[in-house]
Symmetry: C2
Subunit: 321 residues, 2 copies
């Protein structure tokens, strides 16, 4: 049987870390999820991760050969191989994470921000196949962004992901976890949608089942379900979110000139309820030369798989060069 | 005497067109300015331009050899060699300008937007020498921008300059000549500064020589001169301009990650009165990972020379590859 090259993709989150072995076609051959336990020392975490990887790896057919490890993680620096000041991981200022993995695996190891990984995954395995200029926006607890220009990730001078989530909507606006006020992610994210709905309950008089709920229990999924039933507050919350997101996407188009923008992450699962008004508002704010030329679409990768596929794409993209 | 390669740089504006022969060190060996007469047919304009170029060229020492022509023009498309929908030139929808020049000169001809040319000039001959990631912002009648990523101009999928000037400050704000409302260039430009001062005269009570002037006669230069004398209205106009510009520059940093931003164009000649508050406001709005890491500086090219040098850099940059 011929030898088959595979890549290990690892997605590190504040709660869970998942990994999978991915072939060149984007099939996940085997995968596993484990707790991150972010308060553990990073060396202990890597040791534990290594054991779990080897458990899964020994179950792989013998003709698979591992040719690289790609990692997606918050605040990862591609150029340095480090994770820096990640607020949900108590690993200190700067961790040479790629270096720690290399102690166990003498093969290419690359690390990047999760939003950058999502963009690479979209280019290799998703809806951006064949595109040279596009953007991926991940809408979850926060808002992440990965921008591809001329077929390459736009890292800028400092090696991080692009921070669309921390562009300014309103300098007097909502407090952001980054310390600034009015950042886009305080509006256009699962968290932001909930805040908008809570404000609307106070500001408006429309009846809504949301009024009877404990405000701490309200989730973006509940607002989505109500919006599908025609609830005025929920629909307005999506519309306001779409307007702000559409305006800032138009700014991002003006600066980076993509042919398409892909939405991924939990909030993107709202589908047309978010996508259609966002596209309309983006069009309203687009510079004339760009009107009608930028597609807004959902990610082509399955929600639960995109993080592993994206991390694996980091290596597959390099091996393809 | 050894042969010396030179490049012809042409800057096409709505009023005047200037050109110069530029050596690799960025010296303008000979130059000339002529009226554009934008209502002429483009073929007549190019014929006239060709005659003036040849007049100057015959005066050059015989050991100069012309190895390319670079052109900076409004709404120029680098990929197609065209000028498209330029509002100040009555040349129709799309003109194959590079093709028209090539009828007279069988050497490499490249064309790009004037702000892109300014960025290339800064990289080859100005303050961005040695930099791989930076941005040039031209503050004149409008606001133009050229963005360099990994040593290459960021064209995006459509081949135009990046349109920082048409990102949105206020969707209900000032009418822009592009048809939208509240674009950055309606605030952060020579024209925008004058508008801000006129509004401040109405809104505030501070005495100012501006009150005695005919509002149609007020220029950004007058406001600059008054600001230097401590005039409260003029200083506030610069401060408001700097605040809006600083905020949108911080957004641009979040999206493209430059190590420096260079201001050029007429309004940049205000120097520290504009530069210092803009830097301060930009810092206030920068995402934590970028605070203190982005230099805001004036262009290193002489104001009257930058357009010709930038156009020539378009060819010099290609020849260097």
């Amino acid at each position: 049987m011929p030898n088959v090259s595979i890549v290990l993709g690892i997605d590190i989150g504040g709660t869970n870390t998942s990994f999978g072995f991915v072939d060149r076609a984007g099939n996940i051959v085997a995968e596993l999820s484990m707790e991150t336990k972010p308060s553990d020392a990073v060396e202990d975490f890597v040791s534990r991760l290594h054991h779990r990887i080897e458990e899964v790896r020994t179950g792989l057919p013998s003709h698979h050969s591992l040719c690289g490890i790609g990692i997606g993680a918050p605040n990862a620096n591609y150029y340095r191989g480090t994770i820096e000041k990640a607020v949900h991981l108590s690993w200190g200022e700067t961790v040479d994470f790629a270096g720690l993995i290399k102690k166990y695996y003498n093969i290419p190891v690359s690390i990047t921000n999760d939003a950058n990984a999502a963009a690479l995954g979209e280019m290799l395995f998703g809806n951006a196949r064949g595109m040279k200029n596009f953007m991926v926006v991940t809408l979850g607890t926060g808002l992440g962004s990965g921008i591809v220009v001329d077929g390459r990730l736009l890292y800028g001078s400092r090696g991080f992901a692009r921070e669309l989530g921390h562009t300014v909507v309103d300098p007097m606006g909502r407090q952001c976890r980054c310390g600034k006020k009015g950042c886009l992610e305080t509006y256009a994210s699962a968290t932001g949608l909930v805040k908008t709905a809570l404000l609307l309950i106070t500001e408006r008089c429309d009846p809504s089942p949301l009024r009877a709920m404990d405000s701490k229990e309200i989730t973006s999924k509940m607002i989505f379900d109500l919006a599908r039933e025609g609830d005025a507050i929920a629909l307005e919350a999506f519309d306001q979110t779409a307007k702000i997101l559409g305006m800032k996407l138009a700014d991002a188009v003006a600066l980076t000139g993509p042919e398409a923008i892909f939405l991924s992450g939990g909030l993107s699962m709202a589908g047309d309820i978010l996508l259609k008004p966002t596209q309309q508002y983006m069009e309203d704010f687009l510079f004339s030369a760009y009107k009608g030329s930028v597609k807004l679409m959902l990610s082509g990768m399955a929600p639960g798989k995109s993080a592993i596929l994206g991390a694996a794409a980091l290596i597959w993209g390099e091996l393809d060069l």
